[in-house]
């Protein structure tokens, strides 16, 4: 078969600007939605923590009560910000690394609309009291189905893009991303089917819920976050990735140990599940060590510049999170910190890891696909510090507070009211972190929407100028 018989797109790589142009509309749709939901979730998280400053604050307002606004905040963060941002970066990386244009035309944009619709009706459903009651999947089932369809479509677009690639070799980031495209629809459909459509009985629901949450929070976000980090860190440092095999090791340990951990010790589930899950959580530390080693060998601790810093901080949070999870799963310690704020702190570290990676990626990608520089360049740096300090403050106070809370819970001479009061201080400290995070989200949203506005105005000007020129030519002809 001669070269000329091959379709042109499989042999000739499209230009960089063509690739970026093909990503523009779908990615802007994903990222602008993500920016908006990030802001909404940050406001909601701050409101939620207000209940600990003044317990009667929202006593007359059903919508604002802690048990509704907290799941609302978590849902809009996870499903509104994290996953769309992750999918956006994943699609861009699939096109960029495969040296091909983003496939399927308007499908990813439509899928994004569907996704945001799902998050919108789902999260407001939670405020109205339609939460499912399962932590991590509070989204009512009708909204979850919309997300499932959108995720299948986005994954399909990503896989077709990878299939069309002109660069045959798969860069390691693509392994993570391809796995992610399959992972989320699988876990989400399992959760919907076994928790709602044909609900399993009793504690089997808790097993499914823990499995789902762990696979979403750690594995899924880990796949997209680390996938992006293994591209951006070497790229922004101007180095080559140290070793493919080490990254392959990270990939395998992440999906293997990650997907088996997640059952909280002490849950009245069969003891073997807790044992296996704790062992997996302890082994997950290996993933963290391998990530450190890989980053160290790639850019030898040299702090990256610009958006690269987001990724350095992100990796730092990831390592802290796996260590916290591993140490927290050790016998003795796990009994002490069970059912305390410690778990929240751990989850916040993971959220911080993915949040920083996604933000760094968005800050890098958006100017490329729109050809517009960030309108407020100083905001990027400010956002990095606000976000990093915010996460540290939130996670730090929860972990330290959880540790103290656990000690008091185990010491039965301390009356429970005092135990409950002792959790107020860490939660109030965390509100300060929430505030920093909110300010960061605000400057981010301002930057994103100003950029989109500038881009739209430039486009409009161009098309008006074009129209005027064509009008003039037609006049001349007449």
């Amino acid at each position: 078969m001669s070269d000329s018989s091959l379709p042109s797109n499989s042999s000739v790589a499209p230009s960089q600007s063509d690739i970026d142009a093909s990503c523009r509309v779908p990615l802007l749709a994903l990222f602008s939605g993500a920016a908006l939901w990030l802001l909404v979730s940050a406001v909601a998280a701050l409101l939620a923590s207000m209940s600990f400053h003044k317990p009667d604050m929202f006593a007359d307002c059903m919508w604002m009560s802690y048990g509704r606004i907290l799941p609302f905040a978590k849902t809009t963060f996870l499903y509104g910000f994290c996953l769309p941002a992750g999918y956006g970066l994943a699609l861009w990386l699939a096109a960029r690394l495969g040296k091909t244009t983003l496939a399927c035309g308007v499908t990813p944009t439509l899928a994004t609309k569907l996704w945001n619709l799902g998050v919108f009706i789902g999260s407001f459903g939670i405020l109205c009291g339609a939460s499912t009651g399962y932590e991590g999947l509070e989204l009512p089932v009708y909204a979850a189905w919309l997300l499932f369809v959108a995720a299948v479509l986005l994954g399909f677009v990503g896989l077709v893009t990878v299939h069309n690639r002109t660069e045959r070799e798969l860069y390691p980031s693509l392994w993570f991303i391809i796995a992610g495209f399959f992972w989320f629809p699988w876990i989400l459909s399992t959760a919907i089917l076994t928790l709602d459509v044909a609900p399993v009985r009793g504690l089997a629901q808790v097993a499914v819920q823990s499995w789902y949450l762990q696979n979403l929070q750690y594995v899924m976000l880990g796949l997209f976050g680390l996938g992006a980090a293994f591209y951006f860190i070497p790229k922004l440092a101007g180095k080559d990735l140290h070793s493919k095999y080490l990254v392959l090791f990270v990939f395998f340990t992440l999906i293997l140990f990650g997907s088996w951990s997640g059952i909280a010790p002490g849950t009245p589930l069969p003891a073997w599940m807790i044992a296996v899950s704790s062992i997996a959580a302890v082994f997950s530390v290996i993933t963290g060590l391998a990530v450190i080693e890989s980053v160290r060998r790639t850019c030898s601790w040299k702090p990256a510049e610009g958006e690269g810093k987001f990724f350095s901080i992100s990796i730092f949070f990831f390592v802290l999170a796996v260590f916290a999870a591993g140490i927290g799963a050790l016998p003795g310690i796990s009994q002490r910190i069970g059912l305390t704020l410690f778990a929240t702190g751990k989850a916040q570290l993971l959220a911080g890891f993915f949040g920083m990676a996604a933000l760094g990626g968005i800050y890098h990608v958006v100017p490329k696909i729109t050809d517009v520089k960030w309108p407020f360049a100083g905001f990027v740096r400010a956002h990095m510090w606000l976000a990093a300090l915010g996460v540290l403050l939130i996670a730090g106070s929860f972990i330290v507070g959880g540790w103290a809370q656990g000690a008091k819970l185990a010491h039965t001479a301390v009356p429970f009211v005092d135990v409950a009061k002792s959790t107020l201080m860490p939660i109030r400290m965390a509100s300060l972190g929430e505030l920093l995070w909110l300010l960061g989200s605000l400057v981010f949203a301002v930057n994103v929407f100003t950029l989109i506005y500038q881009r739209a105005r430039a486009c409009l000007k161009d098309s008006i100028a074009e129209g005027a020129t064509s009008l003039r030519t037609s006049e001349v002809k007449a």
Partner: protein
């Protein structure tokens, strides 16, 4: 180097194995459990909640109560007490047995039975004690007690087991203890009005409570000439201004009924404990004095 197929296979195997392990097998092991029998009364356990309490579970879910309250009692161990109830026909043998056992109980204590012979011992010691007492013909009882901080806090008589949740959907075992565990909320506070007052103004019942008030579950309205029978009886700073009364809505009553129905106190084969003996029922219908 192109690892496409390998990566796909590895990812598939990892996810499929964890799916089997963490979704399918628990369903086979836990999800197919049948109702258990109460080890003492042989009644089926757990029974379904009354209709009002089932509605209350929906209120509990909708308001995300599980964000602060767990419903799982954790037990760290089991200990045994051996209690001597009657000396029987051979007191010297009993005293001798007690001496060999080095029990604190001595001849003087035998006059005021029942008395514990050993307290908080392990299974082997309890069996040994029981064997020694059995040969003397004395009447004794081995009591099983669960231990752990949760039990000491009186959050339950035993640890929670999978059977406790068989009738629930969704199961809201919670992951936080910003508030106390509620697995046995109905045992601790069997009074519906207690729960209603507590929901309306937690600090009126538990001084220093950090729980938010759920006033939106109640209606404040002008009192008629005679106060409504279902108005909350509130005192001091928590009472509404004069001429007004606080009426619980249906949701508040349902939620209180649900909290009242929370009791995982049946002694089960997996979670044994000796329930305190109830006071003997009166022999006649005469009112208790």
């Amino acid at each position: 180097m192109n690892y496409g197929a390998l990566v796909f296979l590895a990812g598939f195997l990892a996810l499929a194995s964890s799916w089997m392990g963490m979704v399918l097998v628990p369903q086979l092991q836990v999800g197919r459990q049948e109702l258990a029998t109460n080890a003492v009364t042989a009644a089926l356990y757990p029974s379904r909640r009354p209709g009002l309490a089932e509605q209350g579970a929906e209120v509990y879910r909708a308001n995300g109560c599980a964000a602060c309250h767990s419903q799982q009692v954790r037990q760290t161990g089991t200990v045994f007490d051996v209690v001597l109830n009657e000396v029987g026909t051979n007191p010297p043998a009993v005293i001798a047995a007690l001496q060999t056992l080095k029990a604190k109980l001595d001849a003087a204590g035998l006059s005021a039975l029942p008395q514990p012979v050993v307290i908080s011992v392990d299974n082997a010691t309890a069996e040994e004690t029981a064997k020694a007492l059995k040969s003397t013909g004395a009447k004794y009882e081995v009591r099983v007690r669960a231990t752990g901080p949760d039990i000491e806090r009186a959050w339950g008589m035993r640890g929670s087991v999978a059977q406790d949740y068989l009738q629930d959907h969704p199961v809201m075992i919670g992951s936080q203890r910003l508030g106390p565990d509620l697995a046995n909320a109905g045992v601790r506070a069997p009074d519906l009005n207690w729960h209603l007052k507590h929901l309306y103004a937690p600090a009126s019942i538990v001084p220093g409570s950090t729980m938010p008030a759920y006033r939106f579950l109640f209606e404040k309205r002008k009192a008629g000439r005679t106060p409504s029978p279902n108005a909350l009886k509130l005192e001091g700073a928590f009472a509404p201004e004069a001429g007004y009364e606080i009426i619980p809505t249906e949701k508040a009553i349902a939620l209180a009924a649900y909290l009242q129905s929370l009791r995982s106190d049946a002694p089960l084969f997996e979670a044994p404990y000796t329930a305190p003996t109830p006071p003997p029922a009166p022999a006649t219908n005469a009112p208790a004095k």
